[in-house]
Symmetry: C2
Subunit: 370 residues, 2 copies
């Protein structure tokens, strides 16, 4: 509980620390300055030991008394001040809401149009996330939500002045919508799951949910509803931190693979918070091109790979975090040769409930791709 | 409860009726045939009295013993047979799952590749929906889900063999995800809301949810999370059927207006189930271009309208269901002249909680657009 509290006061203290640093520089007659890590491609690396994409050590500095940096410096301070205000008020908004608050005024006497477009304020939020080693959610900035889960766990959500308890095994056809922030004022208790199954498509999640798959298997079944949002990536990381195995179930095509690798190794865009959102422990359950050898009927269920699928497959062969796995090279080669792909929905061909049997068998036999 | 039961057995009985008709024709030595309403643009009309887009009376017939129609006839019967199977099994899938079941086989002895692409099976599902006056959800075909709500109501969701009760006033930051099917095996009880507020953006919903807006106002706050899904349109219609006023709150731009008019008058695509998904009673709460006269600060919060906004605004001036409202013609003209637009997020400019005050004032003064 103490740790939890500290986590919550951190953002405010850290933002205040940033302000105090500036004041100190000024009082010493020096130009105030702000330092963060560069997020350009040249400073993004795949950490082979940790197994995810993260930033290198290249720093970027902006000082007030430099004509080419002063506007950006001022913008940085303006964004930090707004975030501090949101945290102090204990109210949430989004990066769009932040943009409009900045557009309205700077909260003080200055009435300059410091931001013309949101494209100017967005990267500054990332600068602050990196510099203070926090996530925007810690600054009370909500990101887009996407993702639903059901399973053997309860959520204690402190919301406003109330604490609600949500039993994720009693959410019927709907499931529990994964929020933007799964760290602050929220706790997961009675987590009894043997594993977490991440299912690419919402439709497939609904199928498994109807079969009570998570109940029979004592699992958590989660769908990112396509590409995983920040909140969904983060909650998967948290489940992995609890020691629960994570299995990912997607289409065998460019989009499905992208979803898997984003969950596993993170992404270029979020490399700056890679440690919070990547789950290198994740394993790929299917569908795979090699399933065509396991299940005869699947051979008539393939569909044509698109140009995008083939282009992406070639590119992926070159990624260092993929090419070191011979199983993946085989998968990709197989698509490139046959120009065919396979969707998870195809498993419903013989009967709707076959999907669950497929997953059970894969897990039982430990037939995963790394 | 009896009515509920009948509703549930209808799809099965109706599908069986369709099969029996075919058998009867065959036994009389005639070609079996299938009749539905045409869904081409020429048969879609705006019903001024009802206030929504619906199909006209033009029929389309396909008979087995007509060389140009027999494949399509066979496809229709194949789809109907699969839907009958799903309903009988009491299992749900999607139109994609249906496609793969058809691809696998036709359920009988025939082993023809009757469907090469899903583009062939999709329109046939719509044919059946129209011919049998049902929705695909009644055939156990789930559509994409999108949309969340919170407020003073409870959901009784019969799911598998269990009935779960979900209290939509105790869903914390997440809200209750609106399912694909809000008609079968689901009931809404203790609905105490004075009104339903439909909020375009999920981010804005989160803002209002955090302010406990729905609790203070004794309302239901719902977001379609962009364009409304079938399930979301249907639940809004159901709330209107309960006599609850529906207010829609979107951006003042092409996309926001499109979301509003789709909820209110339905859409070309879903004209064939217009009566189930359109809510002509809905009123537009804002944001409006005329808000620029009401709230001075908004004048510095406008942003440039895009080419798409301007093109759409011109087009909308020509729609018969829009041009008859002078308030809407004024709105559209104002954007076209100023080339500016206004987002709902802009209301967060002065303070994050201003949004709720804005809505309260609009409702109190009944300042709606029709």
């Amino acid at each position: 509980m103490a740790a939890k509290k500290e986590e919550k006061t951190n953002p405010k203290a850290k933002l205040e620390g940033l302000g105090k640093e500036q004041l100190k520089e000024i009082s010493l007659g020096r130009s105030p300055k702000f330092t963060t890590l560069t997020r350009t491609k040249s400073n993004i690396m795949y950490d082979q030991k940790e197994g995810y994409l993260r930033l290198g050590r290249n720093e970027e500095e902006r000082t007030f008394l430099n004509i080419s940096q002063s506007k950006r410096f001022m913008q940085t301070i303006a964004v930090a001040a707004k975030c501090h205000k949101f945290v102090k008020e204990n109210l949430h908004t989004t990066i769009r809401g932040l943009f409009y608050q900045l557009k309205f005024n700077l909260g003080e006497d200055i009435d300059e149009n410091v931001f013309d477009e949101q494209a100017e304020s967005n990267p500054i939020i990332e600068d602050l996330e990196v510099a203070l080693n926090l996530k925007r959610e810690d600054f009370n900035l909500n990101a887009n939500r996407k993702g639903v889960l059901a399973g053997q766990l309860k959520v204690l959500d402190t919301f406003g002045n109330e604490k609600v308890e949500i039993d994720c095994s009693k959410m019927g056809r709907s499931g529990w919508q994964i929020p933007s922030d799964v760290d602050n004022d929220i706790e997961f208790v009675d987590v009894k799951a043997k594993y977490v199954l991440v299912v690419e498509k919402d439709a497939m999640w609904q199928r498994l949910n109807e079969d009570n798959f998570w109940k029979k298997e004592n699992a958590i079944v989660l769908t990112p509803q396509g590409q995983a949002s920040r909140g969904t990536r983060r909650i998967i990381r948290k489940f992995a931190d609890m020691g629960i195995p994570v299995y990912v179930f997607t289409d065998s095509d460019a989009w499905g693979w992208y979803i898997y690798w984003t969950i596993k190794t993170g992404s270029i865009n979020l490399a700056y918070i890679g440690d919070s959102v990547a789950t290198p422990e994740a394993k790929f359950i299917g569908v795979t091109m090699s399933d065509l050898d396991r299940y005869d009927f699947l051979n008539k269920m393939t569909i044509n790979a698109t140009e995008v699928d083939l282009k992406r497959a070639s590119e992926m062969m070159g990624y260092e975090w993929i090419k070191r796995h011979k199983e993946w090279v085989e998968e990709l080669t197989r698509m490139l040769k046959s120009k065919k792909k396979l969707e998870q929905d195809a498993l419903q061909g013989p009967r709707l409930t076959f999907v669950g049997d497929y997953i059970r068998e894969k897990i039982k036999k430990k037939e995963f791709l790394p």
